[in-house]
Symmetry: C2
Subunit: 465 residues, 2 copies
């Protein structure tokens, strides 16, 4: 059998909150978002995703609510838009219990926690899920998180990435080098749970972190979780090319995506890695129904439930602009004095030829900066467009943005997935083993070509006899 096409990666993109960037979807009669604080919600979501052979559910997160709009999280709270927001780590063990193959990506912010403690949490999750954990590495998000823990503002952007590089150095040592592969014996006859000569203390004294301890967990199936990263800046791309195995983009034009993909692949090669060891995944809103007309109708219906001020609250935090100063119907030109240069450029590209108002920034349609890729249509229409995006830009897959759930995801699973399979563009069964092996097919562990891991192994080896 020939593999006609590259197999597309599909993740469900979620948070533990009533509704996400499409604020207000919890009001849709079929949406279960008001149950975001129950285990039942996540169990249903996981079962739906695994039925569709999705690669994973990816949980975004933020420390601190979105509080730029009007100087507080008030409109976000009113609209149930990324507020309230529970800790996503804790829903994963329950989802792991009801699935066998689905992966789980979880966002953990390295600004708030010592690497020794974060490494232990991730190892525990990798054990409990039998190797199905990915970690989305975030080094700061919104200023509200910094204020929440008593720092006035986030550190400067590049400094955060320098700290993040050192953080990675520490966690690689813990995950990859503290316990050798054959350290654990479970040998009842000789009273040896593990051979301590094969377990090593990690000593680290750097600019940002110090530590001296044995990793608290024995090696899990993957050791290092699958590493996700979403930084789009130059420094962020350099970080991703060194560390990441999955890179998330939010973009709107094929040209922008193609340039970004080429840049990431080139940087990956420059780091001595195989460019295909990095999967590039783009955020996408997908609305589907049996026919194009029904899908358009569904799009119109969903739009009625969207909350303009709630969505602008979220976009205010992301863009760093308080949109509450404007009427949603103000022309977009009004904001240009408040916005930084790159934002103005982005808006100029996006609104080209159209008279935008402020509300268009979060409009539920193709071309709005919130949307990412925005696809509406029958399964055949969606499948054709997805394959076109993959072939024309070099991306590997899509993060499916939450709309009304789990019905939105179920429609993709039941309608689009078979259509992609028919075209040879989607797997018909999961691969064996860990999330890493399911994604890349070359084993459960990070390869020796990964520069961070190679250095960590060498460094700890050097300190032992």
């Amino acid at each position: 059998m020939t593999e006609a096409r590259k197999k597309i990666i599909l993740n469900a993109f979620h948070m533990c909150t009533p509704s996400q960037q499409w604020a207000g979807t919890w009001k849709h009669p079929k949406d279960h978002g008001t149950d975001y604080n129950t285990l039942e919600y996540y169990v249903e979501l996981a079962q739906t995703a695994e039925r569709g052979l999705l690669d994973g559910i990816f949980f975004a997160d933020s420390i601190g609510l979105m509080d730029k709009y009007g100087g507080g999280p008030w409109e976000a709270i009113r609209a149930g838009g990324m507020a309230p927001m529970n800790d996503p780590t804790l829903v994963i063990p329950a989802m792991a219990m009801v699935t066998k193959n689905l992966g789980f990506g979880v966002t953990a912010n390295l600004t708030y926690e010592h690497p020794f403690i974060m490494a232990r949490r991730m190892s525990t999750l990798d054990h409990l899920t039998k190797g199905r954990i990915g970690w989305n590495i975030v080094a700061g998000f919104v200023d509200s998180g910094a204020r929440a823990i008593g720092n006035e503002k986030l550190r400067a952007h590049d400094e955060r990435y320098d700290m993040a590089d050192e953080y990675m150095e520490v966690v690689y040592k813990l995950w990859e080098a503290s316990w050798e592969d054959d350290a654990v014996k479970r040998d009842r006859a000789n009273a040896v749970f593990a051979d301590p000569r094969k377990v090593h203390r990690v000593d680290h004294a750097g600019e940002h972190f110090r530590m001296s301890a044995v990793h608290m967990c024995e090696p899990s199936m993957q050791r290092t979780p699958v590493l996700y990263q979403a930084g789009a800046s130059t420094r962020g791309r350099a970080f991703a090319a060194k560390h990441a195995e999955c890179v998330f983009l939010t973009s709107y034009s094929k040209e922008m995506v193609r340039n970004h993909v080429n840049d990431i692949r080139a940087r990956t090669i420059a780091n001595g890695r195989n460019p295909n060891d990095v999967a590039i995944i783009v955020g996408s809103t997908v609305i589907t129904a049996p026919t194009d007309r029904e899908a358009q109708e569904k799009h119109r219906e969903l739009r009625e439930y969207l909350d303009v001020r709630g969505s602008l609250s979220i976009f205010s935090a992301l863009a760093g602009i308080d949109f509450s100063k404007y009427d949603p119907d103000d022309p977009i030109e009004y904001i240009k004095n408040d916005a930084n240069q790159s934002f103005v450029e982005r808006i100029t590209i996006l609104s080209k030829g159209k008279k935008w108002s402020v509300r268009d920034l979060t409009a539920f349609q193709a071309g709005s900066p919130t949307a990412g890729i925005f696809l509406v249509g029958s399964p055949a229409t969606i499948a054709a467009q997805m394959i076109e995006w993959v072939e024309e830009t070099g991306i590997d897959g899509f993060n499916l943005v939450r709309t009304a759930e789990p019905v939105g995801l179920a429609a993709i699973v039941d309608l689009v997935v078979p259509e992609l399979q028919n075209r040879g563009a989607y797997k018909t069964a999961y691969r064996e083993g860990s999330l890493r092996n399911k994604l890349f097919g070359h084993g459960d562990r990070l390869s020796d070509a990964h520069p961070g891991v190679r250095a960590a192994r060498a460094s700890v080896k050097a300190t032992v006899e």
Copy 2:
């Protein structure tokens, strides 16, 4: 119907590790401790506990392995004694899925995490378990944890408790006062998930912590988790009397326990609280079988699997003495130059009239400092002794120390529980509602008489219009 006797509280005492203070039990043919890193292990444990109407499973924890003995965690690792040790928080959601009434106590150390982040994790757990979470407040445990995160030694003992008091002040504000009871509407018709006028920012600027943010979670069933504490020092007791709802003791003589109980109750009253709002629970090893003789036989059999050096490794970390300097058969007098005064006093009381050697410190028998209360016998023998302890000392229940599991717990559930029920000393059904209501019967929330909560409510109210 008259309630003949006070209903005894029973918790299973656990950690996410192959074996605990009785190091080596994982070698027992019926023990499942080598599966400590799987969800299946905890699911079976939770189902066994709920079958016996246990009040909860209480998870101890430590940041950093036990590394005093021989200058490293090497013997602990060899023996599988509290090493490796996974994060216990993450097994709770899976256990919550398979139970309806069982409570979950989890240890979280306030030295390592900002209160804003810890408060969010606990609120998430309280939501996901529908109000069944307790938090064991720990302010430092072993020096290895401090070294693990780059601080040479733990802060001075009393200073840690001062910091802990301020930490509690912050989390009370987040849990009890940031969101009013009627803030959350889930009102689809009016597009109001929550009314922001009833949600308040917590501003705190103290000696140890600063923060300014809305709590990220809506109110959970209990708001504040049930508060556990285990400090035995004078400063620790003062902290417990102000904050705790359950106090854990490890003790061996009824006289010591009675004095401790009386002291805690008096301090609770001095804090304006009802002395019965604090449950006092003692660590106990219980070995039972249908007859006394069979129980003695089981005791002898279990003893064969215990690991002397592994147990001494754990006890070294707790006592702050490196017992590897001695042969296990050295007379106990040899250690007196290394031990601090209170340890020597304790040992003198315990060993009275007997020629102890070092190995007796962790001997699997009544009277060893590791044992706590040590009960061996038929169900009738155990039930009679438990009731005697409760009536003679004023304690409220027992933390059942892990032996070979889950068979050890199952024997207590199947044999001792019915015997206690027959004597009117144990519930025959769970109470409704949250863990707090099941334990105390006066509602899901902390009462206004709790001094920390009262202050938090007043403080946040003062900052809003």
